[in-house]
Assembly symmetry: C3
C-alpha cells in the first residue's frame, strides 16, 4: 500500500493498512540498525525540527537519533531560551522554523491540541510540512503507542511483525489512566488490532466515562476495573503507567505506598496472568511504586528495554513515511 498521511497527530483514526505499513517499515529499519554503519541516506537534505515546549530528554533523544540514522539535519528548539518568552505565538515560532527550511516538525506540548493547530496551519499555507505529535497534554502520544505495538508484535513474530497477531489477546493497562496520553494512544491501537483492553486503577484515576473510548467498529473491547484481579486474570500483557507524584497533592491518591499495595505489579501478582505474560512501562519508572524493582529487572517478564530500542526503529519509520509522503506532495 502507499502511505498518504502527512501528519501523525494521534492513532484514533488509523487504519489496519497504516498499522501494517508502519510495522513493516519499522522492521526494515530494525535491520538497518543492526548493520555496520546503521545509517541510510533516506532523508538527506531534510530538516527535522524538535519543538519540545515541554522538556523530555528521553523522547527527544530518541527522535534525534532516529533522524540522524536517516541522514536528516536536526534543529532543536529549546523553550527556555526561546522567543516564546519574548511574546511570540506558538504558530509564529513554527512558521519561523518553516521559513528556515524545516520539513518535519516533532512537537511536544503540555497543552492538548498544539500539534494539531500547527499541522492545520502548515496545511492551510500548503507548506508540505509534516507534523509528528510527540505528546500533547493528556490527549495522545502516538509514537509511544506505536513502539508499544511494534514491541508486542515483534515478540509474537520477530521476523514478520503484523497487526493481526494481537487479535484475541488480553492486555491490562494499570495505573493513572486519567492523565495518560500513552494509555489513550494504546487504547486506540490495541482495540483496533482486535485485542481486549482492560483498564485498571483507583476510581479517581479510572473514571467511568473512559467507557466512551470504546470504538464500536473495533474488534477489541474495552473494560474498566477498580481492582487488579479481574484485569490481570489470564492477561497476555500488562502495561504499567508512570504515577506522577503531583497526583497526591491533587487529592487523587492517598499515598504512593497505599497505591503500591493496591495496584503495584509484582512477581506474585503476575501469577494471575497467562504464564507467558510480559510487562511494559513507557518510562521513566518509579521503582517500587508502579512495579517492583525485581520485576522490572527480570528479563523473563520485562519488555521495558525492548520498548526503548523499538522507539528508534518506529520513529525512523514515522519520519521516513511522513518525510517521503510530504516530499511527494510538493
Amino acid at each position: 500500500m502507499t502511505w498518504t498521511r502527512h501528519h501523525v497527530l494521534g492513532l484514533k483514526d488509523w487504519t489496519v493498512d497504516e498499522y501494517d505499513t508502519l510495522l513493516q517499515t519499522a522492521s526494515s529499519f530494525r535491520e538497518v540498525l543492526s548493520s555496520r554503519t546503521k545509517k541510510v541516506p533516506a532523508l538527506q537534505g531534510v530538516v527535522v525540527t524538535n519543538m519540545f515546549f515541554e522538556p523530555s530528554t528521553r523522547t527527544r533523544s530518541s527522535f534525534e537519533l532516529a533522524a540522524k540514522r536517516l541522514s536528516a539535519d536536526i534543529l532543536n528548539f529549546a523553550p527556555g531560551n526561546s522567543s516564546l518568552t519574548k511574546g511570540e505565538t506558538i504558530l509564529d515560532t513554527a512558521k519561523t522554523y518553516l521559513a528556515m527550511g524545516t520539513n518535519l516538525m516533532v512537537i511536544r506540548h503540555r497543552q492538548a491540541g498544539v500539534p494539531h493547530a500547527i499541522a492545520q496551519e502548515m496545511d492551510r499555507l500548503q507548506t508540505g510540512v509534516g507534523v509528528l505529535n510527540a505528546g500533547d497534554g493528556q490527549h495522545e502520544h502516538p509514537s509511544q503507542g506505536l513502539l508499544d505495538l511494534f514491541t508486542l508484535c515483534c515478540l509474537l513474530d520477530f521476523d514478520n511483525p503484523r497487526f493481526a497477531l494481537l487479535k484475541g489477546k488480553k492486555i491490562a493497562i494499570v495505573g493513572d489512566i486519567l492523565h495518560s496520553r500513552v494509555a489513550r494512544s494504546n487504547i486506540w491501537s490495541l482495540t483496533a488490532s482486535g485485542a481486549d483492553v482492560h483498564l485498571v486503577g483507583p476510581p479517581t484515576l479510572v473514571p467511568e466515562w473512559f467507557k466512551e473510548m470504546q470504538n464500536e467498529s473495533h474488534e477489541g473491547k474495552l473494560f474498566l476495573h477498580w481492582e487488579l484481579k479481574p484485569a490481570l486474570e489470564k492477561a497476555d500483557f500488562v502495561m504499567t503507567l508512570r504515577l506522577q507524584k503531583e497526583r497526591m497533592t491533587d487529592y487523587l491518591l492517598p499515598s504512593l505506598r497505599e497505591y503500591n499495595q493496591q495496584y503495584g505489579i509484582t512477581h506474585s501478582r503476575l501469577e494471575l496472568c497467562h504464564p507467558d505474560v510480559k510487562i511494559l512501562h513507557p518510562g521513566p519508572v518509579n521503582r517500587g511504586v508502579e512495579i517492583s524493582s525485581e520485576l522490572m529487572d527480570d528479563p523473563n517478564f520485562s519488555l521495558i528495554q525492548q520498548q526503548v530500542t523499538s522507539g528508534i526503529a518506529v520513529r525512523m519509520a514515522l519520519l521516513f513515511l511522513i518525510g517521503t509522503s510530504s516530499e511527494k506532495s510538493l
Copy 2:
C-alpha cells in the same frame, strides 16, 4: 573581487563591493538550498562555535543550519552551564574554544563591543579565526542587516540581487530605534545603497542625536520623525521593530495600547505608502503591537517569512566568505 575581511562585526565600514559580493554569494547558496541534498562540502573540517552569551534560539538555529549546509562542525557554547559562572573571563572562554580547534566564532552578547574584543584578541594572537557578530548590545546586528538587504534586493530582481537596486528607494524604520541594533545595522547598509531612511517613533525612542548616524559619504539620506505620516508617505518599504515590554517599566512608553494607536502598522495606514509597499520585521513579533495581526499574515505585504529564509543563505555566505578568507591568511 576578492574578499579580504576576516571578521564581520558591523556594517558601518562596508564597501559597495563587499555588499555586492555578499549578495551574489548568498544568491548562489540560495540555489544550493533548492537542490536535492541542500549541502556543499565548502567548510568540511571547519569548526564553527556558536557563543551565545545572550540566548537566542532563532538566530542560533539559523547560524547552525547554515553551518551544517556548508558541512562544518558546530559546537554550541551554553552560557548557563559554562565556566563563566566559575569566574573565567570571556576572552579565556574564547581562547579555550580556539585551542579546541575553532575556526569561526559566532558571538552574541548583551554588551556592545564583546565580539570586537574577541576579534582583536584573535588577531593579536595571529590565530586566523574569524569572528561574526550575531548581535552585541545596542550596537550592531550585521547578519540581520544583510538578510534584510538580501530580501529587499531579491524582491527587486530575484535572479540578480545587487546593491544598486535600492538607490532612490524610501524606507521607513518604525519603533524603538534607540535600543535597536537591527536599526543601526540597517541605517548603515541602506544609506550606503543610496536609499533614504526615515526613522519614526516616539521621541523617547527616536532621540534627536540619531541624526549623527548620517554618513556624509553615503548617497542615501537619514530623516527623523515623531509622527508616522511623513515617514510612511510614498515609502517603498516599512521595517517594523520589536517593542520590548521592559521599555514601559523604564518610563519610555505610556502603554502598549497607546503605542499601537500611534505607531502600529495596519493595512489602512499603508495607504499612505507606495502601492507596492512591503513590510519587514526582524522578529519575534508582538502581534497587535508593532503591526496588526492581519497585516503580518498578508502575503501581499509581508516579507517576514522571506527574511527568515534569506537568513540561511546570507549566513552561509558570511560563514563561507570569512571561513575561506581566514584559511588563506594562515
Copy 3:
C-alpha cells in the same frame, strides 16, 4: 600491544604499556587533526552519549568534537530537563540510553563512583558498552590526567611522545589538592612514569594523609609541602589547580588575596625552578588567584592552550581505543 581495557574510570591501575599505547594513538590523531578534513571514519555508526549530570561546557565540548572527528553520532543528556527530576534512578537513565543503541558513555557526576557503578552494570548485563569517566566527585578525572601527560611528553619529544620521557622530572602540583580529582589522576600517572610529584598548598587543602597515595611500585616519589619554596626548587613543571571560591565559606581558606600571596604562581616565583620550567592549569582559571595574569599569557611558560588542544587528540584516542575494544568483545 593490544588494548583490552573496556572502561576508563581512573588511572590508578594503568600499566606502562597502556600509557604508551594511549600516547601513540593520540599522536596519530594529532596528525589527523592537522589534515584537510580533520575526520576519520573510525567510529562510524557508533553512538557516544555524553551524560553530564554535573554540567561542564568545556569538557563536554571537547568530548563532542573528539567524537565528531571520529564520525560517531553524539547524544547529549541534559540533566536539567531529564527524567531524573521525575524520579528515575541513574542506572535506569543509563539503561535507557543503552537501549537506544549507545556504545560509549561519557559520564560526569558530582558523586565519586557513579561512572564505576554504571560500568559495573553495563558489564553485568554483558552489553559491551564502554564507560569513560569525565570527572567523578573528588575521585578521578582520567582524560584530564592523560591530556596533561600527552602535553608534557609532546613538549619533550614532539614526534615520539612516550611515557619514559618523564623519568626523573620534578613536577609541582600547587593548590587545592584535597578537592581535586585532576590532582589525583595526575599523581597516579606521573609517579608511574618515574617523575617525582611535589604537592603544595595550605595544610587545610594538602592534608598529611595524601602520603598514602604513594604507590610503592611506582618509580616516582610523592612529596608534601605547605610552603612553595621546596616544591618549586628546580621543578621542571608546575601544575596549578583551580581554587574554588566556595572553599572559603567552608573555612578552609582565609581569603583569595591571602592565598594568592602565599601560593599564587608568578614570574618571579618561577626563578626557583628549572630555567625551562613550564606551567599547566586544567582551567577554568581564576586570573590573579592561582596564577598571575601575565604568566598565564606568557607563551614562554604557559602550556594552558596546548592542554586544551591535546584534549581533542587524547579524547579521540580514548574513544577510539575503548570503542574498538568494546566492539571486538561483542
